[in-house]
Amino acid sequence: MKKLLYSPKAAPYLFIGPFILTFAVFWLWPVGQSFLMSFQKIIPGEASFIGGKNYARLWNDRLFWLALANSFRYMICTLLLLIPVPLLLAVLVNSKVGGSRLKAVFKSAMFVPALTSVVVAGIVFRLIFSESGFALMNSVVEVFGYGPVKWLKNDLTGLGALLTVALWRWTGVNMMYFLAGLQAIPEEYYEAAVIDGANAWQRFWYVTVPNIKPTVVYVVVISVYGGLAMFMESFMLWGGNNSPMNIGLTIVGYLYRQGIEKNDLGYASAVGVVLLVVVLAINLTQLTASGMFKKEDK
């Protein structure tokens, strides 16, 4: 036995063993179970096969579509905000103008929000977006002559609050991604462009933009996942999974409501399977496009 464990043939499997075990026990098997459950009606202690009825119910469930629409709307808004703003800031930080100490302090300040847990961020922003005329956001709108706004009771202002939290927490992180991408562009490209007579705008458009594209693609991909999976921000901002008229209900929140709160495991599994298929489809597209399946050169 000991000899087998120590043989170079068995060694690789022993090294990756923990992963195989974890993958099988905590991902593959549960997901398979969940797939089966999505065809069942489950009441505690009893499961019966009902074919595709859970999926049919899903298709006709207005709340499911609302949750899906909310998640997609949030995801698209985060893309529109969290790509251009951090990119612009990163370009400014990367430029030769301005003191390096100022930039170092700025980078740290931008990064600090990412350290907070979603719980603390949610608590703070919930109180900042309070209905009271004294709360921070209402004092701000008062300067412009508007009365107190019930931020968390209206659809669009609620979305605005969610986006504020997202912008606050992730601008700094995305800026760091872009900065790393910008710093990887060789200096020579810019020098060559200058020799060719390119002005600042042309240098940005013809040198910076094409070279930063892979980083942008990466940030778009993680933002798509993050946006579609958003749940905790809404959970904290509304102090639970229930918001007025379900304005804060996301697709994961719907999964949580059906599976955990209502304990309707069969139906919730169907919701989960649909989501997983959507995410896996995005996943495979991205992996194929980035050439991950090609044999890696060593």
Partner: protein, 312 residues
């Protein structure tokens, strides 16, 4: 030098490989520097942009700090603002936090314990697995590595329900094992370590074998010490994720005396606002450890947090 990962890996974010550069290589001998154009107006403009963005980022921290001096009833009625009303301000919340018989410091200790145990365990197990992927050839290696990539990119939220059911079936619910065990072989950490290890020549294995060191001895005695910078970056990433982890412990834990800090704070957020004193000062205190560690190891934080983009 602080290189996390091989230098070339570091310079290639995006994971999609380097696009073809445009323009020809510059003639040699032009000392560096992009171009000092724009001068003073641009510098002022930048100082304004940086100042405004930086201050906006720090405003919520100031708001919570100011909130710690306010009465709980005031907080629920008025929300948070930036002004300190000195006639009302007091240290009652702090006194309450340290004298209250509540569970706050218990949660704090639980969080600290889970963070340490989870980080240490994850680093060791993931380094072990990454070494297997980086240094050996074996059957199904590509297929298994694709599994790592797929898990890495599926948001946990999409898998929480099957995992929740599985933990209940295994009678692990309401235990710290439920929180730690499923994530010991962490896909992101494995991936990062494996990229790093690919920069270490395999000759080191041969040399070790010739000297009669076992396969595991090579890993523990020769390779692990070489991984220190990568381990530092991943330690920060994992510790932060663990300290801030909310959704999974919320599903897995039931007894209040086992709660972690985020779960505990969340229970104080009731519609009646009777706990807002503790909520606000507790939130403020939960930020302190992470801020202290951030100030000490800033560089590793940024490298760890943005590690996902580094796919050499």
């Amino acid at each position: 030098m602080s290189a996390i990962g091989r230098p070339d890996a570091q310079r290639r974010p995006g994971g999609i490989g380097q696009p073809d550069g445009i323009g020809q290589p510059a003639p040699a001998g032009r000392p560096g520097g992009r171009h000092r154009r724009g001068g003073l107006p641009l510098t002022v403009f930048m100082a304004l942009v940086f100042g405004a963005a930086g201050i906006l980022c720090l405003v919520p921290f100031w708001a919570v700090f100011v909130g710690t001096f306010q009465d709980g009833n005031m907080l629920i009625r008025n929300g948070l603002n930036l002004k300190i009303d000195f006639s009302q301000a007091n240290f009652d919340n702090y006194v309450m936090l340290f004298t209250d018989s509540g569970n706050y410091f218990r949660w704090f200790a639980n969080s600290l314990f889970i963070t340490l145990a989870q980080t240490a365990g994850t680093l060791l197990v993931s380094a072990f697995v990454a070494y297997g992927f980086a240094m050996y050839e074996f059957r199904f290696k590509t297929a298994l590595f694709i599994c790592v990539l797929v898990i890495m990119t599926i948001p946990f939220e999409m898998l929480m329900l099957p995992l929740y059911i599985q933990i209940n079936n295994m009678s692990l619910s309401d235990s710290y094992l439920a929180i730690i065990l499923p994530f010991l072989a962490s896909a992101t950490t494995i991936f990062f370590f494996r990229q790093y290890l690919r920069g270490i020549p395999r000759d080191i294995l041969e040399a070790g074998r010739i000297d009669g060191v076992s396969e595991y001895g090579i890993f523990f005695r020769l390779v692990l010490p070489l991984m220190k910078p990568a381990i530092a970056a991943m330690a920060i990433l994992n510790a932060m994720a663990s300290w801030n982890n909310f959704l999974w412990p919320l599903l897995a834990l039931r007894s209040p005396d086992k709660y972690t800090l985020p779960i505990g704070l969340n229970t104080l957020l009731t519609p009646y606002g009777n706990n807002y004193e503790l909520l606000i000062v507790g939130s403020f205190f939960s930020l302190i450890p992470i801020l202290v560690v951030f100030l000490a190891f800033q560089k590793f934080f940024i490298e760890g947090m943005t590690a996902g983009a580094v796919k050499g």
